[in-house]
């Protein structure tokens, strides 16, 4: 039973969940290399589709994701990671979760908690 990287042209979606609260933090993609790097280091590593390169989550911000548990779905083409989120926030905007906009009365309204200021972390 292996991860099926073929369906998504070499990429699989990966859901990342906070291991202690079960909050969904983000979704990203892995290729075979990112998967092997994640296994080796026990830190989440993805494939950046926009930059077309390996992306060790937290490499710039220090907000690494230490992997506690990994789950594979019934089709073997989607992963779920339970992680310990260093720095308390997964989103590059400074919010704890990338899913910080909630649908209310026909609009997406910010509902999450801002943990850090992106300018201070990324210097841009």
């Amino acid at each position: 039973m292996e991860i099926d990287f073929r369906k998504g042209d070499g990429l699989i979606p990966v859901i990342v969940q906070d291991a202690s609260t079960n909050e969904v933090l983000m979704m990203a993609y892995m290729n075979q290399e990112a998967w092997e790097e994640t296994l080796r280091t026990k830190k989440a590593c993805f494939w950046s589709r926009s930059r077309q390169k390996l992306w060790i989550k937290g490499e710039t911000s220090g907000h690494y994701q230490e992997v506690r548990e990994m789950f594979l779905d019934c089709d073997s083409d989607t992963l779920l990671l339970k992680v310990d989120q260093k720095g308390g926030a997964a989103c590059h905007t400074g919010y704890r979760s990338c899913f910080h906009r909630r649908y209310e009365d026909g609009e997406w309204k910010v509902s999450g908690e801002k943990i850090f200021d992106p300018k201070e972390v990324y210097g841009t």
Copy 2:
């Protein structure tokens, strides 16, 4: 602020989470039509990539997903639904979650709870 269906050729990944336990149940895809159907009915509706048609989750099994909350990610291209899972199981194999295989000692081992027998539900 709208959902961006363009990046994924008209499809966005949708993570489905149990509203009461925060367990991640499954991941599927929506197109614009599935999104509008979900909004209209408050039941999760997806686009089946294998069957190339709208897929009202639970239409065959009765295991509908009543949508409680919806969240959009920072890139506006991934959705998170919190649902009330009718019948207690989201996976067509009868397990509560599609992510019922856990990585242990280099292998994927079944770790989830089987809620129903697919033969009884789908008759196949």
